[in-house]
């Protein structure tokens, strides 16, 4: 849920709750005020009537005096003093409906000790209408206030939180490899200023650490190469000597193998860190079909030897915008993978269309999650010649061009699918 909708949601909830409680409170207060007013006028009338009765000992002509209905009942025996006020509805023939009335009945005795019961009715419909009108008005007022405050609140909140949203979008686009600053705009809100500062510092530190690390690994790989070349050259020379005994031969052989392995490692790691320096690589439209065909040529004899059948269905116009050398490395690694882990008499199928490149090949069933193979130094074989970098190089290239690659394995069928055009329009 968005922050803005969440705060609006709470605001609405609380406002409605306040409205219900406040409305009820208002309703009952006004109601009691109005009723007290009616009751007061009823009591006043009662006092007038009682005074008259006491003075003249008759019931005056009330209808003329008060203009509304009064019921009088005389009894022949005395009564206790008694009074009560109640609500009722009385049928009105003129408007053909029931009208709300408030009535008071009270009892007393005339001077001649005869009891009487008098009921005074007063129409309360007007007052109730007033009450209803007041309530409606309050309701309307409240809702307009609510609406206005939400309408005002939305843009204000949006304005207030703007620095935050900018920060989020910039931080999402943060690329550790580019030296573009986060570029957070100035804000006069202290909290956001602080947040921006923290993010800026973090980004700066991350980049520095990354660059240092990269520089270190590149330097290391480069510096290792010359001593490696010395070792290799010395073993090459040593090998040429005559009269080597079996033991020396096996020693030289071991040195040679270790050197080769070390070389493969540094070479692979350097290649990976090189791919990251994407900006230096010249891009152009390359034909995947062409590259696959060249690469297949490199493995032709090996595939013949392993009796691997190759099927190829490729669109000529399948062009990808990337560096030609890297495209070659990508295809070569994928193909070498398909050849290496194939079985004798197996098959390799290449499919290229304008969005996907799919390599399907036979092989042995896999017990591990094939996606793990994209990680560095994860080897599917225990062969000492393999250093476990092939597929992570592939992954690095794929990532650097924002493509997607998946590896699935069903029984003996392995499939690597490269989705190289994510937005099919470009």
């Amino acid at each position: 849920m968005k922050l803005l909708s969440k705060s609006t949601y709470y605001f609405l909830l609380l406002s409605i709750l306040t409205m219900i409680v406040g409305g009820a409170l208002l309703y009952f207060t006004i109601k009691s005020i109005i009723y007290r007013k009616i009751d007061n006028s009823l009591i006043t009338e009662k006092t007038i009537i009682q005074n008259q009765i006491e003075q003249i000992d008759t019931i005056p002509d009330f209808d003329a005096t008060f203009g509304h209905q009064i019921e009088v009942k005389f009894l022949n025996y005395p009564l206790r003093n008694f009074q009560s006020i109640k609500d009722t509805d009385i049928y009105d023939s003129r408007s053909n409906s029931f009208l709300p009335y408030r009535y008071m009945f009270f009892s007393g005795n005339t001077i001649s000790k005869k009891g009487y019961i008098i009921t005074i009715f007063q129409v309360s419909s007007e007052k109730r209408e007033l009450l209803r009108n007041i309530n409606l008005y309050m309701f309307f007022l409240f809702f307009s206030l609510l609406l206005i405050s939400i309408l005002i609140n939305f843009p204000i909140a949006r304005r207030l939180w703007r620095p935050f949203y900018i920060l989020v979008s910039r931080a999402t686009k943060f690329d550790i490899q580019s030296d573009k600053p986060l570029d957070l705009p100035f804000t006069d809100i202290n909290e956001f200023r602080q947040l921006n500062k923290v993010f800026d510092q973090m980004a700066h530190k991350m980049r520095n650490d990354y660059l240092n690390l990269k520089e270190f690994s590149e330097n290391e790989a480069h510096e290792i190469k010359t001593p490696l070349a010395v070792i290799r050259s010395k073993t090459d020379l040593l090998m040429q000597q005559k009269n080597l005994n079996k033991e020396s031969i096996s020693l030289i052989k071991s040195i040679n193998e270790a050197t080769t392995r070390l070389f493969k490692l540094t070479h692979g790691l350097l290649l990976i860190s090189n791919i990251e320096n994407q900006s230096i690589h010249e891009k152009k439209k390359v034909s995947l079909k062409q590259i696959i065909e060249n690469s297949l040529d490199n493995y032709k004899e090996i595939m013949q030897l392993k009796k691997i059948k190759v099927e190829m269905e490729a669109m000529d116009e399948a062009l990808v915008e990337m560096n030609e050398v890297l495209a070659g490395v990508l295809i070569s690694n994928l193909l070498s993978n398909a050849v290496r882990f194939n079985v004798d008499g197996g098959f390799i199928k290449c499919h290229v269309d304008d969005r996907y490149l799919i390599f399907t090949n036979s092989g042995l069933p896999m017990t591990i999650d094939p996606e793990i193979l994209f990680r560095r130094f994860h080897k599917a074989s225990d062969n000492p010649q393999s250093v476990g970098l092939g597929l992570s190089i592939v992954k690095k290239i794929v990532d650097s061009y924002g493509m997607l690659i998946t590896y699935t394995c069903r029984d003996t069928i392995h499939e690597i699918k490269l989705h190289y055009r994510l937005n099919g329009d470009s």
Binding site: H222, T226, A229, D236, K253, N298, S336, S386
Partner: protein
């Protein structure tokens, strides 16, 4: 052939010198940019083997110097830097080839031979070794004047052997030569074995002698002794 080795690492420089001398080349050595330019201007070399990272400057300057003075001779860059742009600038300003450290000497030899073959236009399009004749123009191999039907890999392999006569070459160097650095092949030694076997068979089938000898523990040696 007369070669100039420009390499600042003393030990590596001596090894290259020893090896190339063993192959019968005449070698001179320079360890700084200054020395190298001085030597390159005074002598004519068939090929200059050049390390780019020199203590007193970039080896690329030597290439520029040689090209602007129109000095003959091929240029082979050997460098620890494998990055693409280094390779490209080197080749763009006139180097003939680029070899990444660490390399096998057999590979170095093959590259030098190939550069010299390309640069000497007259009469060098054929490599003749006893009854074997290789025409590098149209990539044809004849044994006793009979055309040999070789695959591309077998042809490359034969050329590689030719460049390293009487020298032991390892299976690793053959793999790297035939399939490149970026390729990792598990069963590659078997493939080398198969290719060598087929090549040998084809030469012998045309009444050629068996020149490719197995060397215990290391690999092969191409020699007629």
């Amino acid at each position: 052939m007369k070669l100039l080795i420009i390499e600042d690492d003393r030990s590596l420089c001596r090894s290259i010198n020893d090896y190339l001398k063993m192959e019968g080349h005449i070698c001179e050595v320079a360890q700084t940019l200054h020395q190298a330019i001085y030597k390159a201007e005074d002598n004519i070399y068939d090929c200059v083997i050049l390390d780019i990272g020199l203590p007193d400057g970039s080896g690329l300057d030597i290439i520029r110097e040689m090209k602007s003075n129109k000095l003959a001779g091929g240029i082979l860059i050997i460098s620890a830097k494998s990055s693409l742009e280094n390779k490209l600038t080197g080749l763009k300003i006139g180097a003939d080839d680029y070899l990444t450290k660490p390399f096998h000497f057999a590979e170095l030899s093959a590259r030098i031979n190939s550069i010299c073959r390309k640069n000497n236009f007259l009469g060098m399009t054929e490599i003749i070794f006893n009854e074997i004749r290789i025409n590098t123009n149209d990539n044809q191999v004849y044994v006793n004047d009979k055309l040999l039907n070789l695959t591309k890999k077998e042809y490359d392999l034969l050329l590689f052997f030719m460049a390293n006569r009487n020298i032991i070459i390892t299976k690793e160097s053959i793999v790297e030569h035939l399939w490149g650095d970026d390729v990792i092949l598990t069963d590659s030694f078997d493939f080398v074995y198969t290719h060598v076997k087929n090549l040998r068979k084809k030469i012998i089938a045309s009444d050629g002698r068996n020149y490719i000898k197995c060397v215990y523990g290391f690999g092969y040696k191409f020699s007629d002794s």
